[in-house]
């Protein structure tokens, strides 16, 4: 058997003087032996390191290929980039789009690349009829290499230009906030500026959420109700030449605002062109002395605190003289009146007497519980703070009984009135849809029995009192009128009025509150020359109720059926929460 080294010696290709070192060297002595030992060890260590490295790499390969093949983390870098949704969308409660961000193309041209400029101008003008052919030609004939032709085209316009196939035409796209509903929801949705900052309405109120999240915001607004409210409010404002108007529809069980209108309004696509009074939100920022609608709270206070019952009598024989101020009735009955009569015929004197009997502390406490004495928490940034007397003198107590000397926003009024009719629970108003299945935040502010009595009184006003024109047959409307003189230069101006109607339906089991306010209406032949709420606002509330009831699913009932009559007869104990209409 040959020794391994002999193979090399047999190799004919072996370099001539090459002699391989013996593979198993003969034992040597001394330093040579030691050096050999050291290099041997080094070789072993280096080899071991290489083996280790290869094992690690192999292990990693098996791990990656075999066990993590479907791991999403590896695909992360390739996820589709989110569209330019720089700002989240805004929807109404049913998913109708109110605000979105679109990539909007603008058309520019490089005239140096266009050979037949006259022909190009003619064809562009044919594709985009709103452009002038001669102007386009003038732009194309310039010796620049960049000219804007049309800004912010619709996809259809862009397509028309692409169809032309003219070289030298280019598009540059930019994100643009679009409000498809235009002025209909202008005061609620508001608008955002060019730098993606919300400047008004929900766009400002929920700016952080809209900016940073990709999840859309669902408002509590109902677009169809919003339209009906705006339509009818605008008609009333036009008919009676009012300076402005506000309207609000609220779900009394949740405090959700279903429609909110302030007129005049503006186009959110071009807020810069709007006058200040168009941008002013009368429904939430405007505060008004609302007049007799405050008798709702005055009466509820007297009943709830036990100061009066439905059979109590207050003397309204003659006007009250107090502090150089005379409180009198518009249609003086000049006799003692019961609480329902005071409410039905809107007696200022009787109301003042009730407040007097209750006292300032009780009144302030009660109005405070109804949220009328502080700025309400609301998602819109345009929220007004109430104005109230400081100090609160006895004369203030008496005038506040019928809504003078205190100014609140229509929004506060709606929240407070909703609490009076819904069984006595105050729900903070919201314009954002409440999540389903979660309890609605609320605070009990009066007994359910008081709330039931107030329903009967409010129904009385529409059945036979000052709010007769709000009666929508079959829908059991209840409500209260309020006609207040505006303060001008420190005095009440007789011919400058704020006429308000707060309506609720169906009165046997209240669901919706409709509030309409006209600012400075002028009576004419349509209203028998009067500008009072009962004449100029109540008819609008009737039409609104008739139009929205089928949409919100409130079935009409027979108003003369014995159960309904019994439930709404003043003084009948109707167990609260029990639904008498079969709905």
């Amino acid at each position: 058997m040959k020794k391994p080294a002999d193979f090399f010696l047999d190799d004919p290709c072996r370099p001539r003087h090459f002699r391989p070192a013996p593979s198993s060297p003969a034992p040597q002595e001394g330093p040579a032996q030691a050096a050999l030992e050291v290099s041997h060890t080094r070789l072993l260590i280096a080899g071991a390191l290489f083996v280790l490295a290869f094992v690690v790499i192999a292990g990693r390969l098996i791990e990656v290929a075999g066990f993590k093949a479907g791991d999403v983390r590896f695909a992360r870098g390739h996820a589709p980039s989110h569209a330019v949704a720089a700002r989240a969308d805004i929807f109404d409660r049913n998913g109708a789009l109110l605000a979105t961000t679109l990539d909007v193309p603008s058309l520019y041209a490089n005239p140096k690349l266009i050979s037949d400029k006259r022909d190009a101008a003619r064809r562009i003008a044919a594709a985009l009829p709103e452009l002038n052919e001669n102007e386009i030609y003038a732009k194309l004939a310039s010796d620049k290499s960049f000219v804007w032709l049309a800004r912010q085209l619709t996809p259809r316009q862009q397509d028309a230009v692409l169809q032309l196939g003219i070289p030298g035409l280019q598009f540059e796209s930019e994100a643009k906030r679009v409000y498809p509903q235009g002025s209909l929801t202008a005061h609620v949705v508001g608008f955002a500026g060019v730098d993606n900052a919300g400047l008004a309405g929900i766009e400002r109120g929920l700016d952080d959420a809209l900016k940073n999240r990709d999840t859309p915001v669902n408002l509590s607004l109902e677009l169809r109700l919003q339209y009906i409210l705006k339509n009818e409010t605008a008609r009333q404002m036009r008919d009676f030449h009012a300076a402005g108007a506000a309207g609000l529809i609220m779900d009394v069980r949740t405090g959700e605002v279903l429609a909110l209108v302030s007129l005049p309004d503006f186009d959110p696509a071009n807020p810069g062109a709007a006058r200040p009074e168009q941008l002013f939100n009368r429904a939430t920022l405007g505060i008004y002395e609302l007049g007799s609608v405050f008798k709702i709270f005055n009466t509820a206070m007297a009943l709830d605190d036990g100061v009066a019952t439905l059979t109590s009598v207050f003397d309204a024989t003659k006007p009250i003289e107090i502090g150089g101020f005379t409180i009198h009735d518009d249609h003086a009955l000049k006799r003692p009146l019961t609480v329902p009569q005071i409410f039905e015929f809107s007696s200022n004197i009787g109301s003042a007497r009730m407040a007097e009997a209750a006292g300032t502390d009780r009144q302030r406490d009660f109005l405070g519980r109804l949220g009328l004495l502080r700025q309400p928490a609301f998602e819109l940034p345009e929220v007004g703070s109430p104005l109230m007397p400081r100090p609160w003198r006895p004369i203030n107590t008496m005038t506040i009984a019928f809504g003078h000397g205190i100014s609140v926003s229509p929004l506060q009024m709606a929240s407070a009135a909703a609490a009076v009719v819904n069984g006595g629970v105050f729900h903070p108003a919201t314009i954002v849809k409440r999540p389903e299945g979660l309890p609605v935040p609320g605070q009990t502010v009066m007994s359910a029995a008081t709330s039931n009595e107030m329903r009967q009184l409010l129904r009385l006003v529409v059945q036979g009192g000052t709010g007769r024109l709000a009666a929508a047959p079959g829908y059991l409307v209840g409500g209260k009128t309020g006609t207040a003189e505006k303060v001008a230069g420190g005095r009440y101006a007789t011919h400058s009025l704020v006429s308000t109607f707060v309506g609720v339906f169906p009165m046997n089991d209240p669901r919706y509150l409709v509030e309409v306010l006209l600012d400075e209406p002028h009576g004419n032949a349509l209203s028998g020359g009067e500008a009072t709420a009962g004449m100029v606002v109540a008819p609008a509330v009737r039409r609104i109720v008739e139009r929205i009831a089928p949409i919100v699913g409130i079935p009409p009932v027979d108003e003369n059926s014995p159960e309904i009559r019994r439930a709404l007869m003043v003084g009948s104990p109707n167990p609260p929460g029990r639904t008498l209409a079969a709905n």
Binding site: P80, A96, Q181, L184
Partner: protein, 109 residues
């Protein structure tokens, strides 16, 4: 022996190289495809946004009311036109409305 080993390893290296390039080209192709799909997704999303906006624009109640007044002349549902199922039982079958106008009382003519 050595030749056999050399041939084997050479073949192995060539095979590995071929497989590697094959995989690499596949990956490049897939990445192209992915990029294309991602662009399509982005386009589809943008289109959906535009169509949503257009739908909202077209279903704007102000516009629908304008069109209704121009072509259909429909009015709001009157309380008299709404009936509950139990009321239907009281109406005899095949009973044609005697006076169709009475059914739509309260509607603007």
């Amino acid at each position: 022996m050595i030749r056999l080993g050399t041939v084997f390893w050479t073949l192995a290296v060539m095979l590995a190289a071929y497989a590697t390039f094959q995989v690499k080209y596949q990956v490049v192709k897939l990445e192209d495809e992915l990029g294309q799909l991602n662009r399509q997704i982005a386009d589809a999303r943008e289109n959906a946004r535009v169509l949503n906006a257009e739908w909202s624009l077209l279903s704007d109640p102000q516009r629908l009311d304008r069109l209704n007044q121009a072509f259909l002349h429909l009015g709001p549902v009157a309380a008299a036109q709404v009936a509950r199922p139990e009321q239907l039982a009281q109406i005899p079958l095949n009973a044609a409305p005697k006076n169709p106008a009475a059914q739509v009382a309260g509607l603007p003519r």
